[in-house]
């Protein structure tokens, strides 16, 4: 096993760990906001590490650039949808909270 393969394996394992942790968070966290937090962490870090590992494994600069763009677009889309869901939830429950506080 060369040093490149070793780094690839380490990166993939770390990426899988973040996905696992994110899944656990979605299943176990109590409310929507913390679940979203867990989910976007999995998207950012998990996919980031896996993309880095695969890019290293393919070892072609052109493919690595494409993989980097995949990660970038997923990052943009997931963080935007996370923001939208959180905003929607907050607006839905705003009047209720206001009543409860009064």
């Amino acid at each position: 096993m060369t040093i490149t393969e070793l780094i690839t394996v380490i990166l993939l394992v770390v990426g899988c760990f973040f996905f696992l942790a994110g899944t656990l968070g979605v299943l176990r966290f109590p409310d929507l906001f913390s679940r979203l937090h867990a989910l976007t962490k999995a998207d950012n870090l998990g996919l980031g590490f896996i993309a880095a590992g695969i890019a290293l494994h393919i070892a072609s600069p052109w493919s690595a650039l494409k993989i980097f763009f995949i990660w970038l677009f997923t990052l943009l889309a997931s963080s935007t949808s996370c923001y939208l869901i959180a905003k929607f939830q907050r607006e839905q429950h705003k009047p209720q909270n206001g009543k409860e506080q009064e």
Binding site: F73, L76, A77, T80, Y83, L84, K87
Partner: protein, 328 residues
């Protein structure tokens, strides 16, 4: 090792399909269906059919996903209107299931068993090798493209593809027929969210470019009109959701032209060949590549327009409260 992956994937696909049918809540069914579509796309990749995988992922997880989520929102709205909030969790499906007598279940079970038997029989009798693969590969130089899938879709079996474009247009016509004539008139409430606007504006050219890439790369590799069309349709849907109703802005004749250009040009081309003494959709080999590229481009534009129009219509119908009451 790879057999193990295939087996796990097969079990996962069947499990997700069953769960998506049996899930007690409608939202669960919808999300399990997304997962099922992605598992199917992975299975297509394992089978070496990357074209189908892209289409499956784009249609099942992308376009159908948007339609399903939209329908889900309608259902949840009508649920909360009709019932109390405590009963909102119970979906219509579960309510039907608990009340249904045993006869439909028995019929369903028998039908499923029969279907499984037939499909097992079909798998058993797959001829080993052969088929039309060699013939398709041999005729590739005369087809005008270098990718066998595209050659089959747009040259050898162009009639089928033409009908498929027609099917999508028919779907849109059915929605027009059900939805009445109120459509496109009201502008959708503009979303006053700066972040969403910026992200949509950023993704619009990216999606357009990627669609064009898929369209052009269909000549030599996996890709083509349908895959490109879904991406271009996604632009329309995104713009519609972001508060720019594309179809409300452009004039009626242009909308109709966009919707029918692919089908019409394809058919015109076929008739021109007949007039020239060839068979329907029999391209002259010298121009085949060029003609296929034009047909694919127009077909992609038409399909994208049809997909956008389908989503826009369905999304618009519930905004008039009278109509939602009559349809649900």
């Amino acid at each position: 090792m790879s057999v193990l992956i295939d087996i796990i994937l097969a079990i996962l696909a069947i499990y997700l399909a069953l769960q998506s049918l049996l899930a007690p809540r409608l939202s669960q069914s919808v999300f399990l269906f997304f997962a099922f579509g992605l598992a199917l796309a992975l299975a297509w990749i394992r089978l070496g059919a990357v074209d189908v995988a892209i289409t499956e992922a784009a249609i099942a997880a992308g376009f159908l996903g948007a339609l399903f989520l939209d329908a889900l929102r309608d259902f949840s709205v009508s649920d909360t209107e009709k019932q109390e909030n405590t009963k909102a969790d119970q979906s219509l499906v579960s309510a039907k299931n608990t009340n249904s007598p045993w006869l439909p279940k028995l019929a369903l079970g028998l039908g499923l068993g029969l279907f499984l038997l037939i499909s097992l029989e079909a798998v058993w009798e797959i001829p080993s090798g052969g088929g039309l693969t060699e013939l398709a590969e041999a005729m590739l130089p005369a087809s005008g493209v270098e990718h066998p899938v595209t050659a089959v879709l747009l040259n050898y079996r162009a009639y089928d593809t033409w009908l498929e474009i027609g099917v999508i247009l028919m779907g849109l016509l059915a929605i027009f027929a059900v939805g009445g004539r109120e459509l496109y008139r009201k502008p959708v409430m503009a979303v006053q969210d700066p972040l969403l606007r910026q992200v949509i504006l950023f993704f619009t050219p990216v999606l357009f470019l990627f669609g064009a890439f898929l369209l052009y790369v269909g000549k030599t590799g996996p890709g083509g009109a349908f895959q490109a069309a879904v991406l271009w349709g996604a632009i329309g849907i995104l713009l519609h959701l972001g508060g720019w109703p594309v179809f409300a802005v452009i004039p009626r004749w242009l909308r109709q032209l966009l919707l029918t250009a692919g089908l019409g040009f394809f058919l015109l081309l076929g008739f021109l060949f007949i007039a020239g003494g060839n068979a329907l959709f029999e391209y002259p080999p010298a121009y085949a590549g060029f003609l296929i590229l034009i047909v694919e481009t127009l077909a992609a534009i038409s399909i994208a327009a049809a997909l956008t129009a389908i989503f826009a219509n369905l999304n618009q119908m519930k905004e008039t409260p009278n109509e939602t009451e009559t349809t649900t």
